[in-house]
């Protein structure tokens, strides 16, 4: 296992959380100091733009670009929101950050708030991450105490208050506009875009939403420069490191910080300890539950936004879930689809009712009651759900679903012909 430069996991040590003292010793809050004393908000935005940082929440939108749409220079009520919902199956990187070193998020948000000239921030944390919430509470209190947060940060004339919002479940809250509704205390259905949150967010005010990992990268970029950050990546197009959370049929399903662009095979073999029980690799979700499967032929693909897209999938959240040769892909996809159907907000028809329709089809096939016509029906369902829903949740569900019929059609046919699941033991 080759050691790569640890940026976000610098202070990670098993079972421990780094708080202010440790964090400062490792260079923490130097980025903030640099930003506040040596840089204008515009310069901070420019540096982030040059760094090529792309959002780590799943959509991979360029952070600098997103920030450039934000009315930073317009005075008034504005909000900075951290998306800590992290409920995409397979994904646990934000949790790792908050368990290991929560000040990274706090500092990242303060610098981002300065860059975007935002006076108020909210961290939205999912229900299951109670320990993370407590870590953050402590980190926020420490930062306040140390004059790093609150009024006149580091004696500058920049002030920023940061709140924590604990949620109560539901994956859809991670969709950024649903998240805004959730924060406002209305039902967490997504909103239609445009207007984008940068124009009309919380209570109609400009709001910038980023993921925990995205924010956590910001102070490192400011402290060490965009060139350094770009250089961390393996690929030309990529920049920075990525927290890859491994799960599924691996010997060592853990979260690793690795240069962006490292190959799928290398991650599996070198870091994940290879497929468990000496079995063979069958498929992987390269970026969380809403990304299409990759198969053995893709093991050489670099885990970076563009290369994965070329291979027909998405980097998503960088959560790699591996399936061994004994896995029934129909059953796996049914499991994924059940998740999406259950987490549908219930707003639009194809997601609310179409996903349960597919559940029924897959259950039928898996139980050996499928008919050949079901495959066409499945394709037709996918065709009419994909891209036709109000938000991207159902589109996410169709990621693995589409790859199931594209890559594993033989396996489905096998189910239908044998009138049972051929892989069930």
């Amino acid at each position: 296992m080759k050691q790569h430069e640890q940026v976000l996991f610098k202070n990670r040590s098993p079972g421990e959380t780094a708080f202010l003292e440790t964090y400062r010793k490792s260079g923490g809050y130097q980025g903030l100091e640099k930003a506040l004393t040596k840089m204008s908000p515009e310069q901070v935005r420019e540096e982030v733009k040059k760094s090529g940082l792309r959002g780590r929440g799943g959509a991979g939108f360029a952070t600098g670009m997103k920030w450039s749409f934000f009315p930073a220079d317009k005075p008034g009520e504005k909000y900075l929101v951290c998306n800590g919902d992290e409920m995409e199956p397979g994904t646990y990187k934000d949790r790792e950050i908050l368990m290991a070193d929560p000040h990274q998020l706090v500092e990242g948000m303060i610098i981002s708030a300065y860059a975007l000239q935002i006076p108020v921030g909210v961290i939205f944390i999912r229900y299951a991450y109670e320990q993370c919430s407590r870590n953050l509470e402590r980190a926020i209190a420490e930062a306040m105490e140390a004059g790093l947060l609150g009024k006149n940060i580091l004696k500058s004339d920049f002030s920023f208050e940061l709140h924590l919002h604990r949620s109560a479940g539901r994956y859809i809250c991670g969709e950024e506009t649903a998240l805004l509704n959730s924060l406002e205390g209305v039902r967490a259905n997504p909103r239609s875009k445009p207007p984008f949150p940068a124009q009309k967010g919380i209570f109609g005010k400009p709001t910038n939403v980023n993921n925990v990992e995205t924010f956590a990268n910001v102070q490192h970029i400011i402290a060490h420069g965009s060139a350094w950050f770009k250089n961390l990546a393996f690929t030309e197009s990529g920049s920075g490191t990525k927290l890859y959370c491994l799960s599924g049929h691996l010997e060592r399903p853990e979260c690793f910080e690795l240069p962006i662009g490292i190959s799928l095979g290398a991650v599996i073999e070198e870091y994940g300890g290879g497929v468990w029980r000496g079995r063979r690799f069958k498929a992987a979700l390269p970026g969380g539950a809403s990304t299409p499967y990759l198969t053995a032929e893709h093991l050489g693909v670099g885990l970076d936004f563009d290369p994965i897209e070329k291979a027909g999938s998405r980097l998503g959240t960088g959560a790699v879930t591996v399936f061994d040769e004994t896995t029934c892909m129909v059953a796996a996809t049914l499991n994924l689809n059940r998740f999406f159907a259950r987490e549908s907000c219930g707003w639009c028809t194809p997601c609310r009712d179409g996903l349960p329709f597919i559940n029924w089809l897959l259950e039928k096939i898996e139980n050996g009651q499928g008919e050949m016509g079901d495959i066409d029906m499945l394709r037709e369902q996918i065709r009419n759900i994909n891209g036709r829903t109000f938000c991207a949740l159902a589109m996410g569900a169709m990621g693995p679903m589409q790859s199931l019929v594209d890559l594993f059609e033989e396996e489905i046919i096998d189910h239908i012909k044998k009138r049972c699941c051929p892989l069930k033991t």
Binding site: E86, R95, H165, R166, G185, P253, T327, F339
Partner: protein, 162 residues
Amino acid sequence: MTDLLPQNIHDALAAKAIEHLHPREMIIEVLRAIQDHRGWVPDEGVELAGQILGLTPLQIEEIATFYDKIYRQPVGKRVIHVCDSIACWSRGAENLYLYLQETLGISPGETTQDGTFTLLPTCCLGLCGEAPAMMIGLKAYGRLTRERIDEILATERAEAGA
């Protein structure tokens, strides 16, 4: 009211709500406070939240029923949330879920006779690295095996004072 919310917490929330420009924002906070104290949110809890925040019970209920971690039905002293998402599924969660049902003698959604445990499925808990996983109350448990489940249940049962 005291069995819904301790007076000091009630007063603190009420004071905060009055100060708040948009008391609506506090719905989940208030519901979770009631749930922390009472174990679940009965109808009276919804009404109390409405009183504190100046909203109708329906306006609270619209939010309360959106989230799966707000319990609108009685639950046991400990709620077991078993992850049924893909990473845990891939590592045998289905069997452990069945094992839990057998051991506890209840189906999903039910509460044990002694009122200690309620069993519910949940989506991914962010413990995929330690799959299969579950959460009891707000406590996370990973790397589950039948043996570990037995141990955990015993400890939790003892802690719950049953």
